[in-house]
């Protein structure tokens, strides 16, 4: 057994190499640090370029929108301004209620369908699952206005072909919920598949090895383990849906009164932005900024809330 260097022996190739590695590493260190700093700088610039438009949008929203927020804004319905009082334009309570009802009903059917389908995608290896996955991917990329046309045909005017007869129920909140819900399903599906696949296989197998059926393992082990991810998936899909305009553009009827009944014509916030912004009245056009800001704040709260809740759930478990 040899130990280290012994005086008088020829140079040890290992020690020579150790010195060489240290020498080169030290010599190239400055250059490597410089390159590293340059790259970090580039990352920073890219980040800045990406953030500038974002903050510009937020800034103009707040600057032009926040002064529209008043008690009237939240509690009254829209009215056309008169010449005498050009700023008397009422509020958007119809749109707030409309968004609440339409998106609420959409979430009610889209969340369970989306999660169950996501579970199927995560757990099944069948051909049908991959077909479903591809379909969901295509659907998330679909121009959302197509969903509006679909809802218009199916719900508003009704369907009468191939012996299938669906009576149309006219312009209604439910038609909007249908379009928004169909928009949400593939998003929830894909995101919950990712969350469910994140559950380590060993945990899945631990359940199966105890004699549990796959459904039981999914319900009692996998879904609870993936819960933070599932909640994030659902809320992100929801906040995306809240801002969608195209699917509801011509199916909800754009009512100007507060309607809680989803079978009636309704209003919604994104649609209200569109209508106010294209109105001939200056004050209504300006008010659109206030509605837009409200929409952004809602989306922000849902997003932040989902993240905080998921983080809290994660912490609770440790």
């Amino acid at each position: 057994m040899t130990t280290g260097v012994i005086e008088g022996l020829p140079p040890d190739p290992i020690l020579e190499r150790r010195e060489m590695v240290q020498r080169v590493a030290r010599k190239t260190l400055d250059r490597r640090i410089l390159v590293s700093k340059g790259m970090i700088g580039l990352c920073g610039i890219a980040l800045l370029v990406g953030l500038v438009p974002l903050f510009a949008i937020l800034y103009s929203l707040v600057a032009k929108g926040v002064h529209w927020w008043s008690l009237d804004f939240f509690t009254k319905t829209p009215q056309f301004p008169s010449l005498l009082d050009p700023n008397q334009i009422g509020g958007i309570s119809n749109a707030i209620v409309g968004s609440l009802v339409i998106d609420g009903i959409a979430a009610l059917f889209a969340i369970p369908i989306g999660i169950v389908a996501g579970l199927f995608l995560a757990e099944s290896t069948s051909k049908f699952a991959s077909l479903l996955r591809t379909t969901a991917e295509i659907m998330t990329g679909l121009p959302s206005i197509l969903l509006g046309i679909f809802a218009y045909q199916m719900i508003v005017i009704g369907f009468d072909q191939w012996g299938i007869k669906l009576p149309g129920i006219g312009f209604s909140g439910i038609a909007g919920s249908f379009a928004i819900g169909i928009l949400m399903i593939p998003i929830i599906m894909k995101a919950s598949e990712t969350a469910l696949r994140g559950v380590p296989n060993t945990i899945r197998e631990a359940g199966l090895a105890l004699g549990a059926r796959r459904g039981v393992v999914a319900r009692r082990v996998i879904i609870p383990t993936a819960a933070p991810g599932l909640i994030t998936a659902v809320l992100l899909a929801f906040s995306r849906a809240v801002g969608e305009t195209a699917p509801i553009l011509w199916v909800i009827g754009a009512s100007t009164v507060v309607a809680w009944n989803p079978k009636k014509e309704m209003a919604s916030m994104p649609l209200q932005i569109f209508q106010s912004a294209t109105s001939p009245y200056v004050s209504l056009r300006e008010e659109a900024w206030g509605i837009a800001l409200l929409l952004v704040v809602v989306v922000l709260i849902v997003n932040l809330g989902s993240r905080l809740f998921a983080a809290w759930l994660q912490r609770e478990r440790r």
């Binding site: 057994m1 040899t2 130990t3 280290g4 190739p13 290992i14 020690l15 190499r17 150790r18 060489m20 590695v21 240290q22 080169v24 590493a25 030290r26 010599k27 190239t28 260190l29 250059r31 490597r32 640090i33």
Partner: protein, 280 residues
């Protein structure tokens, strides 16, 4: 136990060293080392010297902070948010935290082998072995070739891979992959090699091979090994440090002694309890 003790004695004699392995040169030195994560202490009161060209084993039950201490020795906690290492860990004369040495340079001097084999999945066997050298700016082909051969021979892998260096690392068995990772760590010629339970995911034959390797490797590099396997610690190490989790769930150093002494007549009754399997 007798057979193992004999083995330890024999290797001590071969190394020309009766008694304490700490009587020679010191490679690393821990003074009052503690590691905290977000204010919670994972290990504290670590005070011992790591003898050069010896194998030092860190043993103790789960949660006693062995791995945390090992990872502090090449500053792997630097990237963990909320991790604070206090006290001083020195490599030679350099304080590795306050001595102004860049972490990257430190890690060329203090290498590491992990619990599970982790060869780079996109690289060939050869590229894996020389990756550390390339990362540090060494491009000379002859140098790389020579270093790769030397490291692979040292890791007892040369014979089985010398004719398929371009093959993917994933074509190797688990044991071979782990020896590839040892070769990869050795190729930059570190002074110290940290090993975090390097055989715990391997079969007994691969484990035996790596254990035998350690005895030869220590002429080249100082080895610090974390192991859950006390027989392994008894078989491979010259010095043994024993850790336990205290009442506040923080790991503490209980006893550091030459392996033979720690396994035959430890000073602390808790060490005796542990090595006799009364807890942990």
């Amino acid at each position: 136990m007798t057979e193992r003790s004999t083995m330890v004695t024999v290797s001590a004699e071969v190394a020309g060293q009766e008694g304490d392995p700490r009587s020679g040169q010191i490679s690393m030195r821990c003074d009052d080392v503690a590691v905290k994560f977000n204010g919670r202490t994972a290990i504290r009161d670590v005070n011992f010297d790591i003898p050069k060209n010896k194998v030092t084993a860190l043993i103790g039950p789960s949660g006693s902070g062995k791995t945390t201490l090992l990872r502090a020795m090449n500053r792997l906690h630097d990237l963990t948010k909320g991790a604070v290492v206090s006290g001083s860990i020195r490599l030679g004369d350099t304080d590795i935290y306050k001595g102004g040495i860049p972490a990257t340079l430190l890690r060329t001097r203090v290498g590491m082998v992990f619990q599970r084999p982790n060869p780079f999945p996109t690289m060939s066997i050869y590229d894996n072995v020389v990756s550390g050298l390339r990362f540090n700016g060494i491009r000379n082909r002859a140098v790389l070739q020579e270093a790769a051969e030397s490291a692979l021979i040292a890791a007892a892998l040369w014979d089985s891979v010398s004719n398929r260096m371009k093959a993917h690392a994933s074509t190797l068995s688990g044991g071979e992959q782990q020896r590839l990772c040892i070769a990869r760590a050795l190729a930059v010629e570190p002074e110290v090699l940290l090993m975090d339970e390097p055989t715990s995911s391997l079969d007994p034959i691969s484990m035996r091979l790596i254990e035998e390797l350690l005895d030869e490797l220590k002429s080249r590099v100082t080895i610090i090994i974390v192991t859950h396997n006390m027989q392994q610690a008894a078989r491979v190490s010259d010095l043994c440090a024993f850790f336990l989790m205290g009442n506040d769930r923080a790991g503490e150093q209980i006893e550091v002694a030459p392996t033979k002494k720690l396994f035959s007549e430890p000073d602390d009754p808790r060490t005796l309890d542990y090595i006799q399997g009364r807890f942990g």
